[in-house]
């Protein structure tokens, strides 16, 4: 009789332990689920914060850069076996980009015309680098195209828009080149 009672008591204790362990397992699973859920929320909050900031910054950088004035710049006209330096003074970056795209298109469209536009390209790059990197510490890429000409500048080793990182922010401005609308997109990232 005494033995039977002890066995019953032992069984009850074991059942209680099993219940407690089950309770622990359930709470453990709930904890993992909570971590997953809240961890995802935290990542989303962080992404939202950085993307909001970047969206605002890229717009400001683009506005200021396009409106900046290049005091002295120019290009070399190498057409008809001659070398003629063309100087441009006090032109906005927007104007310089238009000149670059137009002349580059002529370069590619007409075999008789040859322009060395490296000086113009370099001065546009200098302004964007000053605004995006020197002031705001963002890597940048600037992309635009007109007819057959393309402009792509960056302060990292990227040759086209396919190489841009996914966490970039972008701002696109439309400028008029003759009768054509030209999109000018600035990308920034860290």
């Amino acid at each position: 009789m005494e033995r039977l009672r002890r066995t019953k008591k032992d069984e009850k204790a074991v059942l209680s332990m099993i219940d407690a362990i089950l309770f622990g397992i359930i709470l453990f699973i709930v904890t993992i689920l909570v971590f997953q859920q809240f961890g995802g929320a935290l990542t989303r909050e962080r992404d939202l914060k950085s993307s909001e900031f970047r969206r605002e910054v890229v717009h400001d950088i683009q506005e200021v850069a396009l409106d900046s004035v290049i005091e002295k710049t120019g290009y070399v006209n190498l057409s008809h076996d001659q070398s003629r330096q063309v100087k441009l003074t006090n032109i906005t970056v927007e104007g310089a980009i238009k000149d670059y795209l137009f002349l580059e298109h002529k370069n590619q469209d007409n075999e008789k015309l040859t322009y060395d536009l490296s000086g113009l390209e370099s001065d546009i790059y200098q302004i964007y680098n000053k605004c995006a990197w020197d002031v705001s510490r963002y890597y940048f890429a600037l992309g635009s195209s007109y007819e057959t000409s393309e402009l792509f500048l960056s302060n990292v080793q990227i040759n086209n828009e396919e190489g841009l990182p996914p966490e970039r922010a972008a701002s696109t401005n439309t400028i008029m080149l003759g009768m054509h609308r030209v999109d000018l997109t600035l990308y920034i990232w860290r």
Partner: protein
């Protein structure tokens, strides 16, 4: 009747202690669970506060870009002449920043490093205790002769 009941209770006063391991296990599990929840909740709350602070910083910058007292009438760029004579009280009353936050704003010319500073100084204690939302962008600043210079605008906001 009563006698029978007492006889049936095999545990007696000490019987409670048979459940002690189970109780301890449950207490430990609940403690781990609440600690885990706390560990998750605190960073999320901090991040939400930080986002609200960042938004305040952006709103402050936008207000500043539309403040006629520091803008050149014709170009709508920041006027150096107006920055020279700007009163801190006027700026505070225009910005109407939430009392939970403090701010400072600085303008700097890139060529000459000439600088204009408004708002509160950030002490090293505040710097270490609270996160700072800082927004730094290029800007144009127009001098008395109407010439535009490239400058830097920095807006910082923090709790305190």
């Amino acid at each position: 009747m009563l006698r029978g009941k007492i006889k049936d209770d095999q545990k007696g006063i000490g019987g409670f202690f048979f459940d002690t391991p189970v109780l301890l296990l449950i207490i430990v599990v609940i403690m781990i669970f609440t600690t885990s929840l706390y560990q998750v909740y605190v960073p999320i709350q901090k991040e939400k506060d930080r986002i609200a602070q960042d938004r305040t910083c952006i709103a402050l910058k936008n207000n500043l870009q539309n403040y006629p007292q520091i803008l050149d009438e014709s170009s709508e760029k920041f006027s150096i002449e107006k920055l020279d004579s700007l009163e801190k009280e006027n700026l505070n009353s225009y910005l109407k920043l939430d009392s939970d936050y403090s701010y400072n704003i600085s303008f700097e010319l890139l060529e000459s490093s000439e600088r204009w500073f408004f708002g509160n100084d950030l002490t090293s204690e505040e710097n270490s205790e609270v996160g700072i939302s800082s927004y730094q962008i290029p800007t144009h600043m127009v001098d008395e002769g109407g010439f535009s210079h490239l400058g830097k605008l920095k807006v910082s906001v923090w709790r305190g």
